[in-house]
């Protein structure tokens, strides 16, 4: 758990971050979203003390981050930035080994860890270990950046616009991979972005910042249904909010029980959707196909529920 207590950063005449307090739960993804100049990156960098706060403090698992030298603190916290920041003169394996070596791990432990991480990020260690960053594609470089940040098994991972340099198709894949990684390693992730869609897609909780202040910090659906002020409402998109709400619920969660006859049959040629699909996606499919209901199937393909247009629309209204 990360506790941020009235954290403030002032430069000569401007206040970049103004008395922000928030609690970040363990094993969750928290997204800080805001326009440029909102202070979101400054807030993130004060967590690992790349920027020293003017006042306020940060506690990680109850321990004040100011109680040890900054570089020691940063070795325990993963850090990923836009444009990956890989060392161009070091191979992929050497890049990933950076923090373990700084921490003085034995080499017998470093090698297997590199292989494990590369595999977790779908990069074949035999092919990629010896390559230099410039020999990789943008998406691969980004994944190596994540592997490097996770190398020393940090409990906390900070990410500053990690997908900003990727094109839209690769970005979506990278976001899915991040969700997988988070589930696999149980890391507490704090991610900064200016992209509200990314925030809704990834965040268990979303913090909206503007002009150095924290406007609202809550679950995404609360941000849509009960925005704290007009700026949050504008950012979450007032005309889009119903669709956004639908995108936050999965077909599995919203599925209605199957009628007995349908459970026996096999959906009878109607629309079939997986439990992981969002209601927004299901609605879009239903509109496109012109049908009125869809069958929800689980990972094995067995029907486990059904959805109708009316049932979906009900989820698009505030409770």
């Amino acid at each position: 758990m990360i506790v941020i207590e009235s954290l403030t950063k002032r430069y000569d005449s401007t206040t970049a971050v103004d008395a922000v307090s928030m609690v970040i739960e363990r094993n969750s993804i928290t997204v800080i979203v805001g326009t440029s100049g909102s202070g979101k990156s400054t807030l993130l960098r004060m967590i690992n003390r790349l920027i020293e706060p003017t006042s306020g403090r940060v506690l990680i698992e109850g321990r004040d981050t100011a109680s040890e030298p900054g570089h020691r603190l940063r070795r325990r916290i993963g850090y990923v930035i836009q444009g990956h920041g890989l060392f161009p003169h070091r191979t992929v394996a050497e890049n990933i080994a950076t923090v373990p070596r700084l921490l003085g791990w034995e080499e017998e432990r470093v090698g297997p860890r590199i292989a494990q991480l590369l595999e977790a990020l779908q990069l074949d260690p035999a092919i990629y270990s010896g390559k230099y960053p410039h020999q990789l594609s943008g998406g691969q470089q980004q994944r190596v950046g994540v592997a490097r940040a996770l190398a020393a098994e940090p409990a906390v991972l900070l990410m500053d616009e990690p997908f900003g340099a990727l094109d839209p198709i690769i970005r979506e894949k990278a976001q899915d991979d991040l969700l997988d990684i988070q589930r696999k390693f149980g890391t507490t992730i704090v991610l900064v972005t200016h992209d509200i869609d990314e925030a809704f897609r990834l965040g268990d909780r979303v913090a909206v910042m503007s002009a150095g202040r924290l406007l609202q910090y809550d679950r995404p659906e609360v941000l849509v249904t009960r925005p704290a002020d007009t700026l949050v409402a504008r950012m979450t998109g007032s005309t889009e909010r119903a669709m956004r709400l639908l995108s936050l619920t999965t077909a599995g969660d919203a599925a209605l029980p199957l009628a007995a006859s349908e459970a026996a049959g096999n959906g009878q040629g109607g629309l079939v959707v997986p439990t992981s699909a969002s209601l927004r996606q299901v609605l879009s499919e239903l509109l496109w196909s012109g049908s009125d209901d869809a069958t929800v199937v689980d990972d094995t393909g067995t029907p486990c529920g059904r959805l109708t247009v009316a049932a979906i629309l009900a989820h698009g209204r505030p409770a």
């Binding site: 790349l50 570089h71 940063r74 850090y79 930035i81 161009p88 950076t98 700084l102 230099y132």
Partner: protein, 401 residues
């Protein structure tokens, strides 16, 4: 000339047109220069002693007819290759063969003109010889450039060149040529001068690196002071070397006169001290400027990632920033080393020693051969330093693109 030769050379001579199409332009120019050297200008000059003005001699006046004709035929063959083929290997091999022919002719001419056991007469290379050598040298350099050899190959070529030159000189092939006559008289002074020359160049370079590297890092870190530091060093760079030597003589002389320790350390108004100090000052700008440029080249994201992962500022500087800036910094070192090797020559004027001793001694005595004894090794030294450091820079740049 082969058809493929035509095709290969096309892009290089895209501007060719009409009757000259297919003729190599550089080859044509070098052929003209070489022909002028061979037919219009004296190949050697004969002097009864080292300071008398010489009598010019053409190749035909000195060598037997068969040797003259053979020499001309060989050079005509080189010219044909230079004019008509684009094959860089062939051009290099013929250019080098041409150099061997011309050098052999010089040695033969010197031997022919020198009476047995006469150490007074001087047979000096004439303008014709120098023009031929220049034309062939340019042809060879151009061929090497076209072949784009890697850093290792270039160092190897340099080593072969130095090895062959050293062996022929040691063997005594050119002993009757005037410059080698001067060498024979000054052999021990030559060894001392060579040592001084290298020590002065490298010593001032070493001192400059020790000061300029931190100064460059500092200017990069404090951008506010960067223009001031660079302009101050720029102003030093504009002071002519002789003036700077002169300016330094007075304060260093005063220092030696009033501080016994300084005098005991060998600091005096003239000699090596002002020379090293002046060279050191000249060396600062290229190294500081290149250190700043090299560090600027390092992506800010890389530096931030290094700090963000918990590297200390020192680890980031030494392990990331300086390593990535090294090729650019070494380019500055290369500039300085070549520049210093040249400037050390001038330091002889204030008693700094080095090959300049021969150059200025030769000018004083109107003995051109003595000037050459100082000038040629200086050029060879500077050239070798440039090739070695260029190769090193390219090597490092490949590792960290």
């Amino acid at each position: 000339m082969s058809a493929s030769g035509f095709l290969l050379r096309r892009p290089a001579s895209a501007g060719d047109s009409g009757a000259l199409a297919g003729v190599d332009r550089l080859g044509a120019l070098l052929t003209l220069i070489g022909a002028a050297g061979l037919f219009l200008l004296p190949f050697v000059t004969f002097k009864a002693n080292r300071i008398l003005p010489g009598d010019p001699h053409g190749l035909a006046q000195v060598l037997p007819v068969w040797a003259t004709l053979g020499c001309r035929a060989a050079l005509a063959a080189v010219a044909a290759v230079a004019l008509l083929t684009a094959n860089a290997r062939l051009r290099l091999v013929t250019a080098l063969a041409g150099i061997v022919v011309v050098a052999t002719a010089l040695a033969a001419a010197a031997n022919a003109l020198t009476p047995p056991h006469n150490l007074i007469v001087r047979v000096a290379p004439g303008t014709g010889f120098w023009l031929l050598l220049a034309a062939l040298g340019l042809l060879a350099t151009d061929a090497i450039t076209r072949m784009r050899p890697g850093p290792g190959a270039r160092v190897l070529l340099l080593a072969i060149f130095l090895g062959v030159a050293g062996l022929t000189l040691a063997h005594g092939t050119f002993d009757n040529v005037s410059v080698m006559r001067e060498y024979a008289v000054n052999a021990s002074a030559f060894a001392v001068a060579a040592r001084q020359h290298i020590l002065l160049s490298l010593g001032s370079l070493g001192a400059a690196v020790i000061v300029a590297l931190p100064l460059g890092i500092f200017s990069h870190r404090v951008p506010r002071l960067q223009p001031g530091i660079l302009s101050a060093l720029n102003i030093i760079q504009t002071i002519p070397s002789i003036a700077l030597f002169g300016i330094l003589m007075a304060p260093l002389g005063a220092l030696a006169a009033h501080v016994p320790l300084a005098a005991a350390l060998g600091i005096r108004g003239i000699g090596a001290a002002p020379a090293v100090l002046a060279l050191f000052l000249y060396s600062l700008l290229p190294i500081v400027a290149n250190t700043v440029a090299g560090l600027k080249r390092v992506s800010p994201a890389t530096v931030e990632a290094a700090l963000g992962m918990g590297m200390t500022p020192w680890q980031t500087l030494a392990g990331v920033e300086l390593v990535l800036a090294l090729p650019v910094i070494l380019t500055g070192v290369r500039i300085v080393l070549v520049q210093n090797i040249g400037l050390v020559t001038v330091a002889a004027l204030i008693g700094g020693g080095g090959f300049g001793t021969f150059v200025f001694g030769g000018i004083g005595q109107s003995a051109t051969d003595l000037v050459l004894l100082g000038a040629i090794p200086t050029v060879v030294l500077a050239f070798s330093a440039a090739v070695l450091l260029d190769a090193l820079v390219e090597r490092l740049d490949r590792v960290s693109p």
